[in-house]
């Protein structure tokens, strides 16, 4: 870790954050968009020697309406399912061109950026290929738990019970009928050097993980929960609070897997009931207390498993 970055994490306060902005203001994100917050800070961590390949999706559509761009670093978008493959091609190009002395030898961070659908559904194959081949890239999944830019359709990372436009709460079915796919575990199963989950509501934890990902040689994968007030049906000024509740309730966990060793980075001493998290959002409003109890049971089980895996419980 560079000295500058190490200093940043000591007594972490907002005023110590890098002042440079590489994800420009004036982009077209909705009010309260947490993925945009994540992007802004990602580029503060990585700095100007960064190139980003973005999948089609919210991050792309809010930032690049021709002839404008919010990106002050080199940036490319080509399609939906291939951010990882595009990034892999960029990384390979730099490797070859630096070896052949066509461009100066230096560290350039290559980032693959995709949403939950672009990572865990349509982009899973390209991601798996890139992780397996060991490209020196940072693969980021910003997870707002549905296909938001196309109008809130469910993805494999939409939580159980959430109502979306393709998993609607109807007379027979009560929203999403599947449980959230464990994309971080899938990434970790490729035995890459660094995998972590993060949430914009835990800024210092997210910064620490972004720094670790930057310092990793070889593939690193960050699964970042980034609430979407538009799709989650909550007030825009609640985005950060909702993210915190997701972690506090055990609906989302903050951990890292460094060289195969799993470690909880944020330990929740006293979990709040998932009901508090669920009742704060319109996407769950159709759920009954019994439905929420079922979710609570599942969350309890998963939390115990996580504690065991992270060596926090025998």
């Amino acid at each position: 870790m560079s000295e500058e970055r190490a200093q940043l994490l000591k007594g972490f306060t907002p005023k110590k954050l890098p002042r440079e902005e590489y994800f420009g203001p004036g982009h077209r994100a909705c009010q309260g968009c947490a993925p945009a917050v994540m992007l802004r800070h990602l580029l503060k961590v990585l700095g100007p020697n960064t190139v980003v390949a973005t999948a089609t999706g919210c991050a792309e559509i809010i930032s690049s309406p021709y002839p404008q761009t919010a990106w002050k670093i080199p940036w490319i978008h080509s399609a939906f399912e291939n951010a990882a493959a595009t990034a892999a091609g960029i990384e390979a190009a730099y490797k070859a061109l630096m070896r052949k002395k066509r461009i100066p030898k230096e560290r350039i961070y290559v980032v693959s950026l995709a949403g939950d659908g672009g990572t865990a559904d349509i982009g899973l194959q390209a991601l798996s290929g890139a992780l397996e081949r060991g490209h020196d890239c940072i693969f980021i999944c910003y997870d707002n738990e549905a296909y938001m830019n196309t109008g809130i359709q469910r993805s494999g990372l939409t939580p159980f019970g959430a109502s979306t436009t393709t998993s609607p709460a109807g007379r027979i079915f009560k929203g999403q009928r599947t449980w959230k796919k464990d994309i971080a575990a899938i990434a970790a199963a490729h035995h890459i050097p660094y995998v972590a989950t993060a949430c914009v509501s835990y800024m210092k934890d997210m910064y620490a993980k972004m720094i670790k990902a930057a310092d990793t040689r070889g593939p690193s994968f960050l699964h970042i929960l980034a609430p979407c007030p538009t799709g989650w049906r909550c007030p825009p000024d609640m985005a950060i609070e909702i993210g915190r509740m997701a972690v506090q309730s055990g609906m989302f966990h903050l951990y890292e897997v460094e060289n195969g060793v799993k470690r909880l980075t944020v330990k929740v001493k006293e979990r709040i009931p998932v009901k508090e998290y669920i009742r704060a959002q319109g996407r769950f409003r159709h759920l009954t207390d019994e439905d929420i109890e079922e979710i609570q049971r599942r969350v309890d089980e998963e939390y115990e498993r996580l504690l065991r895996e992270a060596g926090e419980m025998a």
């Binding site: 690049s64 960029i90 390979a92 190009a93 730099y94 194959q125 390209a126």
Partner: protein, 392 residues
């Protein structure tokens, strides 16, 4: 050191041209009959005779995506595929062209499923006809070699900046041994200098690539793409002239034989043109005024050449190795028909579909199709198309 004549399998010829182009990134996925190109290139990288990153991608979609990323970052990039692989990456072909990235691809042509068949025809290339790539049809191993090196030079020309693909018939061309004149490394470097992109993804000069366009810009961008792809035509001719001066081999968008006094011109693309040439030669000896066009440049479409050369005869027989299912004729035949629609004097165009999925089309078959075309024209009963040699 100058050119030397070698005897190589045509897939190896293609790989040798790619090695001489000193590519930086190869991304490929195995599919029959393209595999030999991918295998030979990976051997070259493993042996250190080609200094490139070889990316063993998990699909053709990622092969083209990697090429897009690599080319955008300023690397000379290459891939090769066939049929289903081309279909899988077709989304990315349009994007490579739209982003104006000079990627080069070898397409070892093969039929599209179903039924599954590994054998050759042109249904794959015709399925991506409108993807905005410069497209060349090679007839023999020498053309595969020459076109592959030329493709990089044309694609990377600042007046062009389009991806380019070189098509060769699966098996019938890709897997045969042929004598080929191979130029030296010095000659290759001289003809094709190191790629110096005007724009590349690099922190020294940040650019955004692949922004989305709303309807108020989209049509203008597309119009420009179309005009500039057509604008590559003189550059292609210029590169071909230079190639002829350097190496003595001449190329034209439509290579024509015995057309000046022809009463009928037979048109075909790719390796089967060799057999067609023998057939036409035989018919000429028997006093029949038949000419031949071996099609080389498919995109940009050589409209003026088509009108000038095929307009010489009253009858044109087009043998397409692809079928427009439910459509009104072979794909090449229909483009020729369209090219002549507004001309005052225009030939009758007979469309024959033959040689699907690698079925042999022999000299006698070309003779039979010629006879049939003349009969149909004589009777004034030219159908949209006929499928030749099919069992009813």
């Amino acid at each position: 050191m100058g050119s030397k004549r070698v005897s190589l399998e045509v897939s190896e010829v293609c790989a040798e041209a790619v090695r001489l182009a000193d590519v930086d990134v190869v991304a490929a996925y195995p599919i029959t009959p393209q595999t030999h190109i991918a295998e030979v290139l990976s051997e070259m990288v493993a042996d250190g005779v080609l200094d490139a990153e070889y990316i063993n991608v998990e699909s053709e979609h990622s092969a083209m995506s990697c090429c897009i990323g690599a080319s955008a970052a300023g690397a000379r990039s290459f891939t090769a595929t066939s049929a289903q692989g081309l279909a899988l990456m077709s989304e990315m072909l349009y994007i490579a062209s739209g982003l104006r990235l000079p990627i080069v691809m070898a397409l070892v042509t093969r039929t599209l499923s179903a039924p599954l068949s590994i054998w050759g025809d042109y249904s794959d290339i015709m399925s991506v006809r409108d993807c905005g790539w410069i497209t060349l049809f090679a007839e023999d191993g020498q053309e595969v070699f020459d076109f592959t090196l030329q493709a990089f030079r044309i694609a990377e020309d600042e007046r062009v900046l389009f991806p380019a693909m070189v098509c060769m018939d699966g098996f019938h061309l890709s897997h045969v041994l042929e004598p080929v004149d191979v130029i030296s490394e010095e000659e290759a470097r001289d003809f094709l200098p190191v790629y110096r992109p005007k724009y590349r993804l690099h922190p020294s000069d940040p650019v955004s690539m692949g922004c989305f366009a709303m309807p108020d810009y989209f049509s203008e961008i597309k119009k420009r793409q179309d005009e500039e792809l057509k604008g590559s035509y003189p550059v292609i001719l210029e590169v071909w002239r230079e190639w002829e001066e350097r190496f003595g081999r001449r190329y034209a968008p439509l290579m024509s034989y015995w057309v000046d006094d022809a009463e009928m011109i037979l048109v075909i693309a790719g390796g089967y043109a060799g057999t067609a040439r023998l057939a036409v030669e035989g018919m000429r000896k028997r006093g029949m005024k038949v000419g031949l066009v071996s099609w080389k440049l498919w995109r940009p479409f050589p409209l003026d050449d088509v009108r000038e050369i095929l307009g010489k005869a009253p009858l044109v027989l087009v043998v397409d190795r692809a079928l427009s299912v439910g459509g009104a004729g072979g794909p090449i035949a229909n483009e020729i028909r369209a090219a002549f629609y507004h001309e005052k004097v225009r030939p009758q165009v007979v469309s024959m579909v033959a040689g699907l999925s690698g079925r042999d089309v022999l000299q006698r078959d070309f003779e039979a199709m010629t006879k049939r075309a003349m009969e149909l024209a004589e009777r004034g009963e030219i159908p949209y198309y006929e499928m030749y040699g099919v069992r009813e």
